[in-house]
Symmetry: C2
């Protein structure tokens, strides 16, 4: 079956809902996967979405719920009572999704919902997961897994797995624990298929298993799963006991969110916003750095005001101010982006000093090339060679400074345990603008006077 | 076992290699996973790396090879003959990794290597894969998979799987084909474990299987696997026959590379460079946009030169030029980033016009807030209220313009099938600088004269 969402228009679905044409709607639902149904629901109004939702089977309904856009889900859930949320949704979700969902709801509702859950094991699992920060291994993990004891025979193991597997959607790997519930290894399903029923698990399992502690950060989890190409990663507690497992799909989302965050920070956006969000949300996410940049610009204007006399006498000096500011900003962004990316990928090693020296060399080459181009231009077109020379020397200085500064700031932030991605984008451009203008006029005063 | 790389220093490994202390080295290798060994080899020189490599078992050696940094692998392979590459490396790799490896080598070596491969099935599989562009589903897929026929019984199926599974590292899913080798469904290993040996596959399998054609783009594959939370995705040919499968680890790498590319384009870097690359490579990747920005700055200087008389009379107008340019740049980057991200995530729908209207609204609010702040500042500190008013009106105009322009350009590029990410970063800032200065001086001339 292929994905058919394009053949069915939202309009036809809305019509069918209005006319309560359930047969058509059930046909549509049958053709679509949960993620597609969620996309349809994202486009409907609340009443329409609820109507469609009641037609879903419970299992699929839970899946669809998790695939909705965050704000759509929020509005959708707000129209149900805590009891309905517990029975209609939470009971049918995996523990990790259920915990994520409850985490999205207001504090006051959480306890009520947990109390209403009928499956007490599920309620217990969710309560366990709610302890961990969402950005930790514990926050990313689910409790659903298949585990067997090292001392069992294959036949016991398969019998037990049949029981456990009902609750676990994707098995991937069977974990092996010892009598203290400590994780000792894993067993691939292939091995089990090939083994004889009387083999003992301890003779079959692979003790080479990578695990993380529940308290480890999401970034570390993503890095480990990515580095070792893992699809599923077991999570242990401080005593080494197996308490959950993280699947790759949750980590892919995490990696994407991280990348998007860095991208937005670089572009001067403070909150996780999308262009489909409301105008007011978008404005909020963008305003902070604009105001910072505005104050930077005001400080810049004061720097320039100090050289008012010089500008009155040599207005041509003012022509190149935006050029100098822009070049400083561009070079600074490039340098900081490379460092932030290197830090995120853990490919940087060694101290700060050699990195700054390297940046200095890059800045030197780029500065030379750009200054040379500017000199050639000035020779043919500028009002005077003196101006060209002054601007070229200033440009060179600013490029070298911005290269080093753009590398230095994120490296220092990292050392201070502050997210280095904060230093990219408007912060770097604004500081480089101000310092660049200062350098420019200093050099202007020093050199231009001589000619 | 936990990851122990931090306890062993590169120095101690280099010492052991020099002294040919194999026992120690074998101990180290035993403690480390392939990805860790690759990290160690990245740090060694060619001779040292080769020494360590000879101590690895063939299977692990192949895995380590794929985990090396691209440039290290290139240098490493260059020291072997085509025959050695075929026997030592290619024979032990999965077909998709082998094809990727051969794709990295010069054209002239490819045929020779294929000719030297002993396993002719492997040679055939690789040749099949080399047909597809690396950025397509065919380029991402591997030929190793477990497939069974719908007409078989479970017992035949398990027997056949034992044979096939030897070659396949991670089974994940068993694919079901009909007599024409067409993909008709899949069978989870759990279901097989639970089934009776005499059950027929056609009564067990799930016909709801998502697949892609070999010619589909990598971006689409990543989007589908991400959307439907898939770990493995079957690939079919034009006739619907099963020809391979893509695993999530390859797609995670792909998603990461895409995100890094967009990040670098935004920061004005044209090539895929890292801060650990050579100075000359880094310089090359950064110079293009710097030169573009330089020419932008030169054009900007000509715009300003047109208003030289005005600057001589009112040098205070020059104070706010960098502020106007910077604000235009920042707003433009924010707008373009949101659009590029929305396009990449396929969350944008509808025409260009409503999006521009929305950006206009956001620009209006941000412009009002920033202009108001600037007015308050001017009232208390600026040389004259007239200047404050002029700059505020110009700022407002520039912010609104930059908002719309920053959204418009990537949307138009997308329509023209040009990568919209090219429009972020220096291109947007540079154009906004020039147009912003133009707007500023026009408004300055119109308004400032009146006071």
């Amino acid at each position: 079956m292929s994905i058919k969402i394009k053949d069915i228009t939202i309009d036809s679905i809305q019509d069918a809902i209005r006319e309560q044409h359930d047969e058509f709607l059930l046909g549509v639902i049958n053709e679509l996967y949960a993620a597609d149904i969620a996309e349809v629901m994202d486009e409907l109004n609340l009443e329409e979405a609820k109507y469609l939702y009641t037609l879903l089977e419970k299992e699929e309904a839970a899946e669809v719920l998790m695939e909705l856009e965050d704000d759509v889900r929020e509005r959708f859930l707000a129209s149900f009572s805590t009891q309905e949320i517990a029975h209609e949704f939470i009971d049918n979700l995996d523990s990790d999704d259920a915990a994520d969902l409850i985490n999205e709801l207001p504090d006051t509702m959480r306890g009520e919902i947990l109390a209403h859950i009928e499956d007490r094991q599920q309620a217990q699992d969710i309560a366990d997961l709610l302890i961990y920060p969402t950005n930790s291994a514990g926050g990313l993990m689910g409790k659903e897994l298949v585990k067997v004891h090292a001392s069992w025979h294959v036949v016991t193991c398969i019998r037990e797995m049949r029981r456990q597997a009902e609750e676990v959607e994707n098995v991937y790997t069977v974990y092996v624990v010892d009598d203290d519930e400590k994780l000792v290894g894993m067993l691939s399903l292939e091995k089990l298929l090939i083994a004889s029923p009387r083999d003992k698990i301890e003779t079959l399992f692979d003790s080479d298993v990578i695990s993380v502690k529940a308290t480890q950060k999401g970034e570390e989890v993503a890095q480990i799963m990515n580095k070792y190409d893992l699809v599923v990663l077991p999570v242990i507690d401080e005593l080494g006991r197996l308490i959950g497992r993280i699947t790759i799909d949750d980590v892919v989302d995490f990696i994407k969110e991280e990348a998007e965050r860095d991208y937005q920070l670089m572009s001067g956006i403070t909150q996780d916003i999308e262009s489909t969000d409301k105008i007011w949300e978008i404005t909020q996410g963008r305003l902070f750095w604009l105001v910072v940049a505005l104050f930077g610009g005001i400080i810049g204007s004061r720097v320039i005001a100090n050289y008012e006399d010089q500008i009155s006498i040599n207005p041509e000096l003012a022509f190149f101010m935006p050029l100098i500011a822009a070049m400083g900003g561009n070079v600074g962004i490039q340098s900081s982006a490379l460092i932030v990316q290197g830090l995120a990928n853990h490919t940087l090693s060694g101290g700060i000093f050699p990195k700054l020296m390297k940046e200095l060399s890059v800045g030197l080459i780029n500065g030379l090339v750009c200054s040379a181009i500017l000199m050639v231009y000035s020779y043919f077109f500028a009002p005077s060679l003196a101006l060209g020379l002054t601007v070229s020397v200033a440009l060179m200085t600013v490029i070298i400074f911005a290269s080093v500064f753009g590398s230095f700031v994120p490296l220092v932030l990292e050392k201070m345990k502050i997210d280095p991605a904060l230093a990219t984008g408007p912060f770097i451009t604004t500081s480089n603008d101000i310092i660049g203008l200062f350098i420019y006029f200093m050099i202007g005063r020093l050199m231009y006077g001589f000619f």
